[in-house]
């Protein structure tokens, strides 16, 4: 077996997508469908943020596609005045892969949830990430099954009392970002539904990344899991718990920035009081570190009890994308051997009668 090195991508995430010179507004991205999420659902915030953010990309609207699976958040495509497909449970990354491979001129977004992406569709998610298909995957994590009315999900905290677990859930939850980084995703980020500024800046970075981008969005489900992320939103609490990442800056947090992230003896990260360990030991964030252990160690700081939660862009590295390479092979094959159907059908061994 010989491998062909196709080099690193020289393109940005949107470089092959045609742009629109006419100025766009958020309302251009609103479809005529009535939005039917429950009042107060975190999905509204993300939808609004997306509709407000897309004009900044200046892409032709018809070259944007949203593909979703099944779940509350997967209704998203219906509300976007772009192309869209509301597909089947868990399979959106697979369908989006086929579309992205065959259509380099499209900006393809996958909208999924914790059940859709991590339970029934777990396989497709990790494979899309490892292949590094040029897809932007938005994972709405509300730590519950909303559409089926309140069963625990693969991100629910252990011991959760739900309709299907009256004595408490037994499953250990996924840390979605650890999973994505384990699959060697090239772009991994987390944000909260209420942090519009961070959400928008992450969406921008994800869109411009060439390759798979996984963006986890903590999203409140007021009906079945209300307040799941309140501790990350309440003043006084959130400062103790949220660890925001900024490229090139020391990773510090706390009401007075008194905490910092430092290396442990085992190569992982832990939280320490900067005054006790000294400023020099605080890790300076670099999402471009190729070795996934760095981002993985960051992801381990987030625990299921939300004692700490790291937000921002964990990882943003370059690796050849599956779809670019697939197209390159097709183009190279056509160049070295122009298609000749009759020659193919004839093959090498023919005989003629009459």
């Amino acid at each position: 077996m010989t491998a062909v090195d196709l080099g690193l991508p020289s393109l940005g995430g949107l470089d092959l997508v045609p742009t629109d010179d006419a100025p766009q507004k958020a309302k251009d991205f609103k479809s005529d469908q009535e939005v039917r999420w429950c009042p107060g659902c975190g999905d509204y915030v993300v939808l609004n943020a997306m509709q407000s953010f897309l004009p900044s990309l200046g892409l032709k609207r018809e070259n944007i596609v949203f593909i979703s699976g099944i779940g509350c958040s997967s209704r998203f495509p219906y509300y976007m005045n772009t192309y869209g497909m509301h597909s089947i449970h868990g399979r959106a990354p697979a369908i989006a892969t086929g579309l992205a491979v065959s259509r380099p001129d499209l900006s393809v977004w996958v909208v999924t949830g914790d059940g859709d992406a991590l339970s029934i569709g777990g396989n497709h998610l990790i494979h899309a990430l490892r292949r590094n298909v040029n897809l932007k995957i938005l994972l709405f994590n509300n730590r519950i099954y909303g559409l089926t009315k309140g069963q625990y999900s693969p991100t629910s905290e252990t011991g959760k009392l739900t309709k299907s677990t009256p004595m408490g859930s037994l499953d250990h939850p996924f840390n979605p970002l650890s999973l994505a980084i384990g699959a060697e995703a090239t772009f991994v980020a987390r944000t909260l539904d209420n942090d519009r500024a961070q959400l928008t800046s992450i969406l921008t970075a994800a869109a411009q990344h060439r390759g798979s981008a996984l963006v986890e969005i903590y999203q409140n489900c007021p009906i079945f899991n209300d307040g799941a992320f309140d501790v990350l939103k309440e003043p006084g609490e959130k400062e103790q718990r949220l660890i925001p990442l900024e490229e090139g800056k020391p990773i510090r947090f706390g009401p007075e920035s008194e905490f910092g992230v430092v290396r442990t003896d085992f190569g992982g990260f832990e939280v320490a009081k900067v005054s006790e360990v000294g400023e020099d030991r605080v890790v300076v964030h670099d999402p471009t570190i190729n070795d996934p252990s760095y981002a993985f160690a960051l992801s381990r700081l987030s625990t299921q009890d939300l004692a700490h939660t790291v937000t921002g862009v964990y990882r943003n590295v370059q690796r050849p994308t599956y779809d670019d390479q697939a197209r390159q092979q097709v183009a190279a094959a056509a160049e070295t051997k122009p298609p000749n159907l009759q020659a193919l059908l004839n093959g090498n061994d023919t005989w003629t009668v009459g």
Binding site: M85, I88, I95, L106, N123, P339, L344, G347, T350, G354
Partner: protein, 635 residues
């Protein structure tokens, strides 16, 4: 016993100077059998190419274990390849071998039961050690006692003779021994007056990087040839003259290769890029292998993480305006069902190829069966009609793909193509189509808003009044932004709709679209015009059914044959055809799935004949079944 039975004899002098008698035959069935490691498939393939080059009609049946290397020398490890070649058009790989080549005791034991009395047996004696005999349960050496006295037995020490012939090559004894299959091929090629240049050229190409191995194989091949020519062991050689074919250029082709070429051609005829999403599965993987070699035709092959992702990628590509294709076998269809349902709902073109194998579950991966018909027909939740197309022979796979693609593109629907293991690996001469004569399958994508209320919107579920197909508006088309998906949609506009009347209407529209697909009328073959019994089949049983009917007719009885290419929708004249006959017999390699459909739809009490043995029907077996029915109607 034979489809036709006549032979003539003449005596001639062979090149070796020894007088051998030459017997002219119209047809011969040879089965090469050995251990999985003995290269029997390659040997069979080569003999097939020789027969094709010589101009015989032919049909082949490879038969091999699912394990890559079952324990050497055991019964489960036996691999065989049967070829039927003739001077007239034949329909099957033959019921039973006239000649059995057995490379070891296991191959002998597994196959001798099918050699008719008087048949020729050529045995490689080198493998008949006590240990190997015991391994397969022979208490005594069958070559020593009289248990083979009903056959013409030729004992040949193939391994020893091959090693002797290769003594000067410097090859290790083990490597030399591995060439014994080419010795066998050489011997049989001599015996049947086959051309040998092709095989020598093939070996040189196959082992281009290892010229010493190429030479060794060629030496072994020649040694086998010379062994036949110079020893006194074989008094008779045989000639099977070329068959008469309609004029044209021919090649030999397997079903899987024909499917792959069909997909390439479908892409060219429709001027669409092709995306194949597939997961490796026996016996369909060769289609993926073959297509991945033809990327120059604008073909992308995605080897997906599982069956579901395979069809998902294909559907995603179809949504984007490619010809999406997925290939698999029964267990894969089970996994793909939900996505097929989505394609039905989204009304997007998609080609789904099921190379059926023995089931249920993992079943018999390398054996054939026709038991996925009802799965294809009904194997989804809800009312989810899917057109079904079935090829009837290896070469016919090409035409079936073109036809299935035509339906998928014209009616915007997933189409199921049902091949099977016998067609997939079997081969036959194929009249190569002229590329310029292939149909134009080009499509028109939507470019203008089509809203029925006159607005400037695209309504995804507005239908063509004739075909009931919706428009194919692909992403990237300005102004036609729309959303589709698995939820029920309002007729026309395509918004989500839970309205009861709308759902009822949409279910009926989807059904009416499939029911209205234009498929040609069923053609009945009844040479005498007097038949009162009709045999109706589908898929790969075409050959055995045809051969069975010929035999019945040769006995002076009338019988009609018809074969369904389209199983959904059925041809419009099918009901009328069924009612024309006193009795309709339906042979199937399942428990009567087509029979069930026919009874349900046409209220005709068809007679089902079923066998689910993992092997094609035999012509003789069907002859008896058909004869009974013909006599039953007379009585």
């Amino acid at each position: 016993m034979r489809e036709r039975d006549h032979q003539s004899m003449s005596t001639s002098v062979n090149g070796g100077g020894r007088a051998t008698q030459v017997t002219k035959l119209d047809r011969v069935v040879i089965r090469f059998a050995g251990d999985s490691g003995d290269g029997m498939q390659l040997t069979g393939d080569r003999f097939t190419s020789e027969a094709a080059a010589f101009g015989n009609d032919l049909a082949t049946l490879p038969n091999f274990p699912a394990e890559i290397r079952a324990p050497a020398g055991t019964l489960p490890g036996v691999s065989s390849f049967q070829i039927h070649f003739a001077d007239y058009d034949i329909l099957t790989p033959g019921d039973r071998p006239d000649v059995l080549v057995a490379m070891n005791p296991a191959a002998l034991k597994a196959n001798i039961g099918e050699l008719p009395v008087g048949g020729m047996l050529i045995v490689n004696t080198d493998e008949f050690s006590k240990r190997n005999l015991t391994k397969v349960g022979y208490d005594a050496d069958p070559l020593e006692d009289d248990s083979l006295s009903n056959f013409q037995v030729h004992r040949v020490a193939m391994a020893t003779l091959t090693q002797g012939a290769l003594a000067d090559t410097g090859l290790s004894k083990k490597d030399a021994e591995r060439c014994k299959n080419m010795f066998a091929l050489g011997l049989l090629s001599w015996m049947y007056h086959r051309p040998s240049e092709g095989t020598e050229r093939f070996l040189r190409e196959k082992f281009a990087r290892k010229p010493d191995i190429a030479e060794a194989n060629i030496l072994a091949f020649r040694a086998g040839w010379n062994y036949g020519e110079t020893t006194e062991a074989f008094a008779v050689t045989y000639e099977v003259p070329p068959a008469e074919f309609p004029p044209g250029t021919y090649r030999q082709i397997t079903g899987n290769a024909a499917l792959a070429y069909g997909i390439v051609a479908a892409g060219q005829c429709s001027k669409l890029p092709v995306l194949l999403g597939a997961y490796p599965i026996t016996p369909a993987s060769d289609i993926l292998h073959e297509l991945s070699k033809h990327k120059n035709f604008g073909i992308t092959t995605v080897q997906a993480e599982d069956e579901i992702a395979g069809i998902g990628a294909a559907l995603g590509a179809s949504y984007g305006g490619s010809l999406g294709v997925t290939t698999t076998s029964g267990p894969g269809i089970a996994l793909k069902s939900e996505t097929i349902g989505l394609a039905v709902m989204a009304e997007l073109p998609l080609l789904i190829i099921d190379v059926q194998r023995g089931g249920p579950s993992t079943g018999l991966p390398t054996k054939t069966e026709q038991a996925d018909l009802l799965l294809a027909m009904f194997g989804r939740n809800g009312e989810s009609p899917v057109p079904i197309v079935a090829p009837n022979s290896p070469g016919d796979c090409f035409d079936a793909v073109i036809d299935a693609t035509r339906i998928a593109l014209k009616y915007r629907t997933p189409v199921m193509l049902l091949s099977d293991g016998a067609i997939a690996n079997g081969s036959e001469p194929w009249l190569i189509p002229r590329a310029e004569n292939l149909p134009d399958l080009s499509v028109t994508f939507a470019s203008e808003p089509n809203a029925l209320d006159g607005s400037d919107e695209h309504w995804p579920y507005v239908r063509d009044t004739e075909t009931l197909a919706r428009e194919w508006a692909i992403p990237g088309t300005p102004g036609l932004q729309h959303r589709i998906g698995g939820l029920e949609k309002a007729d026309g506009k395509g918004s989500i709709s839970y309205d009861p009347d709308n759902h009822d209407r949409m279910v009926r529209l989807r059904q009416a679209k499939i029911d209205g697909i234009d498929v040609p009328d069923l053609v009945v073959e009844d040479p005498s015009g007097d038949a009162r019994v009709l045999v109706l089949g589908w898929g790969s049983s075409y050959g055995p059914i045809g051969a069975g009917c010929r035999r019945v007719r040769a006995e002076g009885m009338a019988i009609a044959q018809a074969h369904l290419r389209h199983l959904n929708p059925f041809p419009a004249n099918l009901g009328e055809v069924l009612n024309r006959y006193d009795r309709v017999v339906v042979p199937e390699m399942n428990m009567g799935q087509l029979a069930l459909l026919l009874r349900g739809k046409y209220l005709v009490d068809v007679r089902s004949y079923t066998k689910v043995a993992g092997l094609p029907f035999k012509a003789e077996e069907l002859q008896h079944v058909f004869t009974e029915h013909v006599e039953g109607v007379r009585a």
